[in-house]
């Protein structure tokens, strides 16, 4: 099953948070179903936010029964294990607008299933670091300065 998450939820942390909420909902449904069998009450409808987030993952389900919720959880976890994740590290926390712009670009140019993890490293002066599963690409000002250290030294000598 391929999942194409919306930019609003296309981070591993957000997906994991969503899965935890689904699991909570599944537990709640199990309790509801026991009550219904005992004729103590009807099943509750799923939370609107839960359904809204499910739509962000472009998954069609009503999340009305434990079985359907269980299927969704299983599908998401399975997909999450192999989902392409791109790690981006900045000097400070990326704002929401920048995160959305970057994710949208990645979904359009790379793959709509790409997840992006944003992290912070205070030693970065400017720029960012890109890390995939096997590679690391340093596009920081630190790296640029290091590459041009000889020219930097010459500049210092002429000061």
């Amino acid at each position: 099953m391929t999942i194409n998450p919306d930019s609003a939820i296309a981070t591993p942390l957000a997906i994991q948070g969503f899965v935890e909420r689904l699991e909570d909902w599944q537990t709640h449904l199990q309790q509801q179903e026991i009550k219904r069998r005992l004729r103590l009450g009807d099943l509750d409808s799923p939370d609107r936010q839960l359904l809204k987030d499910l739509r962000l993952l472009q998954i069609e389900s009503d999340l009305a029964t434990t079985e359907t919720v269980g299927e969704v959880i299983k599908a998401i976890k399975l997909w999450l294990k192999s989902a392409p994740v791109l790690h981006l590290t900045f000097s400070t926390q990326a704002d929401r607008h920048s995160q959305t712009a970057i994710i949208d670009w990645l979904h359009q140019q790379i793959n709509p299933s790409v997840l992006v993890e944003f992290t912070v490293d205070g030693s970065i002066a400017a720029g960012f670091v890109v890390r995939t599963k096997n590679h690391l690409y340093n596009f920081t000002a630190n790296e640029a300065l290091w590459r041009s250290r000889r020219k930097l030294g010459e500049l210092v000598q002429h000061v």
């Binding site: 192999s82 989902a83 392409p84 994740v85 791109l86 981006l88 900045f90 000097s91 400070t92 926390q93 990326a94 704002d95 607008h97 920048s98 712009a101 970057i102 670009w105 990645l106 140019q109 790379i110 793959n111 299933s113 790409v114 205070g122 030693s123 970065i124 002066a125 400017a126 720029g127 960012f128 890109v130 995939t132 599963k133 096997n134 590679h135 690409y137 596009f139 000002a141 630190n142 300065l145 290091w146 041009s148 250290r149 000889r150 930097l152 030294g153 210092v156």
Partner: protein, 200 residues
């Protein structure tokens, strides 16, 4: 040697005087052969009278004079010889002294030359060692300087980066970098795509 000769001469003179006096006293004056005649032989004449005391006195005087003269001569010779000996001794001592001084000077010159040569060799060795040390130290200092400069240049990027971080602080708006980020991602799109989707 001269003393011995002088003493021998004096002894001979004294002996001769004593012998003459003794002979005059024991044998009266001899009669010459031509005065002897058969008549005389037949009738012996009376012997001439001899004054022994006078002869002894004369001999004593002569001996005394001789001794006096010999003594004076001996005294004179002794003075002359003493002066000569003194001169000889002085000359000998002077020559010995000069020779010793010359030997001493020669030895001293030799020692001075040897010492000078040793000092010269030592100075040469010290100079060579100093030059070698200077060259070694110069090379070492140059290498240290180059290493230090290299370390400085290697760390210069960190210094500048730290300066930028300190200057900008934590209030950096990343939206300003967004065009740069997207440009970099676009430039490296193929690599990123390959890395991300190879196992997907």
């Amino acid at each position: 040697m001269l003393y011995i000769v002088a003493i021998a001469v004096l002894a001979l003179v004294a002996l001769a005087g004593w012998y003459q006096a003794w002979r005059a006293g024991r044998h009266p004056a001899a009669v010459p052969h031509h005065a002897k005649s058969p008549l005389a032989h037949a009738a012996p004449a009376a012997p001439p009278s001899l004054d022994l005391d006078d002869a002894q006195r004369q001999a004593g005087d002569q001996l005394s004079d001789s001794i006096q003269r010999a003594s004076e001569m001996f005294q004179k010779n002794l003075t002359v010889q003493a002066l000569k000996i003194n001169d000889e001794l002085e000359g000998l001592a002077g020559r010995r002294l000069r020779q010793q001084v010359d030997d001493f000077n020669r030895v001293l010159d030799s020692l001075t030359a040897t010492a000078s040569a040793s000092v010269g060799q030592l100075e040469t060795l010290i100079d060579q060692r100093r030059k070698a040390l200077e060259a070694s130290m110069s090379t070492q200092v140059l290498e240290d300087k180059q290493r230090t400069m290299q370390r400085f240049y290697d760390r210069l990027s960190d210094v500048v980066a730290s300066y930028i971080i300190e200057s900008l602080g934590k209030e950096v708006d990343l939206s300003g970098q967004l065009p740069f980020v997207l440009k970099v991602l676009e430039d490296n799109q193929d690599i990123i795509k390959r890395d991300l989707l190879d196992d997907y």
